[in-house]
Subunit: 343 residues, 2 copies
């Protein structure tokens, strides 16, 4: 195994300056004093820092394209409000820079590995955006091995030399729980997304921790796969328990909307008997019955920032982590005070 690559974090620590300053100095951008630049370049040289392979070979081979490999079955993807909104944001930046997006949609993780290998082997892209980070994510080591520059959406669980563009979704989930507690709820459930995804985990942990911080016992939970069918099944499980929750925090809107339907079918009034919150603020969320309280992130802006960061990495060999404004609660009509005695 090769020695771990020296990152700009290492250079920053060694030079005693911020990563931003290192990034600026290495990308030859203005705003760095001659003295700082000298110190940073000395630190970089001493540690043996080098820009990524692709960035160095800029003059000989550039695809002028970025890659995105999405591993979800077609039937789930079609309904997901995230990807095309994200891609639309990416494209606003790529079109400004005369770059293209190469998109691979694959069914499973084996095809995903083959997809990245194909992109790298054919020199189709100068770098990739890595979405849907997983707990045990083999992609970062793979991309390192393929010498394919990458930007991750949020920070991976393990070590990473790739810049991360982060959007804190847990802030929105904490707001949702606080909102429900304010309304008088004490028995608040959760319908999570698939366990391997870090974003599923982050939303689940934010829910569980917020309950604890409000002095409440753990709530009931069920797991879906982000599809409406799985949201309906999870809701039936929660509502069928001896002590059904008076409120459920869902990990996405599609599952929450299907949950609303199950509640209607079971004669459970929303929000009187059951409060419901979603995540995504899909275009339909304002048009459910009643309109859905949900959590909103600016996904096109996230896509644009990811593209900009990856271009900076590809062109300059280094880029800074970015923190986007966090996801926020949007209160509509599916949340209200619980009826005395519960459903």
């Amino acid at each position: 195994m090769a020695a771990p690559r020296v990152t700009i974090t290492d250079v920053a620590r060694h030079a005693g300056v911020s990563k931003t300053l290192v990034s600026f100095a290495l990308n030859d951008r203005p705003g760095v004093s001659p003295e700082s630049r000298r110190r940073i370049l000395a630190a970089a040289a001493e540690l043996g820092w080098r820009p990524s392979h692709r960035a160095r070979s800029l003059s000989v081979s550039r695809a002028f394209a970025l890659g995105l490999v999405v591993a979800r079955p077609a039937e789930l993807l079609g309904a997901d409000p995230f990807f095309l909104a994200f891609i639309a944001g990416v494209e606003t930046v790529l079109s400004e820079h005369d770059q293209a997006l190469v998109l691979l949609v694959v069914r499973d993780r084996a095809a995903e590995v083959a997809g990245y290998e194909r992109l790298a082997r054919d020199g189709r892209v100068d770098g990739v955006l890595v979405t849907d980070l997983r707990h045990d994510d083999e992609r970062l080591a793979l991309l390192e091995r393929l010498r394919l520059p990458a930007v991750t959406l949020n920070r991976p669980a393990g070590p990473s030399s790739s810049p991360a563009v982060c959007l804190d979704d847990s802030a929105g989930v904490r707001e949702a729980v606080a909102h429900l507690v304010d309304l008088g709820h004490r028995h608040i459930g959760h319908v999570a997304g698939p366990a391997p995804f870090l974003h599923s985990r982050s939303r689940r942990e934010a829910w569980a921790q917020a309950l604890a911080e409000h002095g409440l016992p753990p709530g009931p939970e069920a797991v879906g796969d982000f599809s409406p069918a799985s949201g309906a099944a999870a809701t039936r499980t929660l509502l069928g328990a001896d002590e059904p929750p008076t409120a459920v925090v869902y990990a996405n809107d599609l599952m929450a909307m299907a949950g609303l339907t199950v509640a209607h079918q079971c004669g459970v009034q929303v929000p009187g008997d059951l409060s419901v919150t979603g995540f995504d603020d899909a275009a339909s969320a304002a048009h459910t019955h009643p309109p859905l309280t949900t959590i909103r992130a600016d996904v096109p802006a996230w896509g644009a920032r990811c593209a900009r960061t990856l271009l900076e990495l590809v062109e300059g060999g280094a880029a800074e982590d970015v923190e986007m404004p966090p996801a926020r609660l949007v209160v509509r009509d599916t949340t209200g005070p619980p009826r005395r005695g519960g459903p």
Copy 2:
């Protein structure tokens, strides 16, 4: 202006054989008798038929990538169940053939033209898939000028030398109207998609013609932009009329779902007071309240067939039109007999 290109339709007419046979002969595929092959090649030579520019220059420059330019605002795209399901279908074929998809998402028609020009100029793709055909669609002339092989989704309004992969959505709309008439409806409205799109027009005309064929007077109509908000507004318009319809055929599911919500809000019972049909069979359609009667097409299969046809065109210089199985009605619970006296 250059003389119009000789197409395989011309060759077929001249040789007195089917387009399929011409395509097979020109692509050197089996199943063509030596005599037919001779006659076809003679006709092709006599008419001056030649494979497309890109196909001829195959040996010198090939991108091994197909392009898709989508011109819809990010906020509409995110919610649309069509595009990612279509792309997932395209990718199943591209991955088999070691090809990639280059995706451009643009805001408007000016950016769309620039996008195609950029793809052609940079040699990024060997051909493009043309979706969302419009009544006055300047793209076919543009692609001809750019010498970019293309496959259209359905047939354009004007002349075209590009193969079309067709999926008849009007069959599903006619079935929906027949179903509503069978249930006893006589006053059936329509919420259409944006007028420039041929698919919007095709669905609207199928609705209008089906009413006429059943001996019914024209129904009330409103136009949306496929978004939930526009579907809600259109529904309020139709329900606010002096004689509101007892059933509404919507051009997509998102508008139909928002229509269901408006009905609930107005105290209009579905299906007792109002029957509703959608189009797309989005993942959520089976999970609305009540579950949505809608029209279903196999979109991933359509994507796969489009990709296969475009690869055939790029590699062989010719490809046949394809007819996919038509869209079909899926009956769920938003359609039923109208109450006497109407709403």
